[in-house]
Amino acid sequence: MTDMPSLIVTENGPSALLARGAWTLANVELLERLCAGAPQMQGGPIDLSGVTALDTIGAWLFEKLARRNAAGSSAATFVGASPSHAGLLSEVRESNRGRPGARPRAGTFIDRLAKMAREFGADSLAFMAMLGAVSLAGVRVLHRPRSFRLTSTVYQLGRVGWQAIPIVALITFLIGAIIAQQGIFHFRKFGAESYVVDMVGILVLREIGVLIVAIMVAGRSGSAYTAELGSMKMREEIDALSTMGLDPISVLILPRVLALIVALPILAFIGSMAALYGGGLVAWLYGGMSPAIFIARLRDAVSVTHFEVGILKAPFMALVIGLVAACEGLKVKGSAESLGRQTTASVVKSIFLVIVLDGLFAVFFASIGM
């Protein structure tokens, strides 16, 4: 091939280096090797009369050769370049002149720890601010009930409540069935099979029912809230609302949070019933306990207190999920990546907080003797 680039060192000629061929992107691997292998020159021009094609990469490589040969003093010159090639060469002459700025270092372990602590503080503050803003919007709505967005709230209720019922019921049914099966299997060893009813009843009504449902809602609806609000933020829809004199909190966030607060106790109730149903079914089919006995034992084992303990937690968990989703949604910046990051953060943080909240409630209910 005649266009194969080459770089020849001339011993006795007027030029120090003689370049030939196509100095273009297609040959870049060969060109890099040629330039790396070129000897350190004392100076003297580079002859480009044999160059058949030149693009920015080729021009830059020549420029680099020229700068290296000059060793700090005046750069080597080019001879024999065609007019169009000369234009390109002068274009790259000015580039990469400045000292590259120091790249920010990754930072030590302590730095990262400090950054995490600062972020945690900022997150807590943002959460409190969101709680305050939503409460204020709620008080304003109580003051002027006509400003309440009923249509939007009902629509959100349909999305996070009604449409979530099938999947919530299915998952909690399976969880109840699994708990019952494991209980029967292990309790059988010391003949305490009938206590499975106590375990399923108390566990489901107090803890598992509401916790599983809250985690599912955080994954299903919290993420959707963050993504919606985030893309609205990206497209300046939230700014548009503000300029129309509307409060984005009361238009967008209050209906969503309220819908969650209403929907989660209902879903927790449905979930608990489905789990008990699953547990009863397994007790009957696997443990040989007839439904009548299961129900009778359940009546002895659980009281309405257990149910209250479970269902009381639901609205607070809903509030946490809604507020975290709103905070993270409003944190979205312009890029698609930031939307994804904030949505992930929303789900992770709300699940974490739901579990922490559950622990706090357990301590609280134990201390008041419920």
Partner: protein, 247 residues
Amino acid sequence: MAEDRIAIHVNDLVVGFGERVVIDHLCLDVREGEILGLVGASGGGKSVLLRTLVGLLPKRSGEISFPAFATDEAVGRGVLFQQGALFSALNARQNVQFPLREAAHLSPALLDEIANAKLEMVGLSVEDGDKFPAELSGGMTKRVALARALALDPALLFLDEPTSGLDPIAAGEFDALIRTLQQTLGFTVFMVTHDLNTLAAVCNRVAALADGMIAALGPLPAVLESDHPWVRAYFHGARAQMLHLGA
């Protein structure tokens, strides 16, 4: 010189969506090394024509060829989209490096140097390369997008409304930048624009698209003399008159 070689040859092109025919038997030649500006009504098919030329839309019939190039694959195309279309997950330098990285195997150091050189060619600083698209102003976004379009040294550059959304100073600087780069790098430019200043300052020839066909074609003064009613309305309307008065 190569003034008369044809870079893009469009013959009898028809493009449409469903019932609607947008480009109706259009013929156009773009000469090598020229800057051709395409004007037309909003929704009149300018962007459709551009997207068809770069291969994003299928043509219904007709012919698009690139006679100045040996094969269709050899045609290096760079496209500057109206909103920049920068990849939001990559910073400015990585955006410029992306096509290079895909096209050839370069050492990381060379990749950085080439990207810096491209950024400096379009009037940005090396530090700007670390910024993400969300942190760039409108003018800078266009410049980074231009640097990315030029990454592979294309022979054909397609610009979709390069100066839209820029203030007059930034638009003027961008016009000058395109002109300078075109002179040094020698590519052919096909530009869709509404900016009458850009047409006057940058374009060698102007094509007016009306009713899916080229209604007028030639240097700006010749197009201004055209008798076509839409072309007259476009260049002699109130807004255009203001420009003439100001000039």
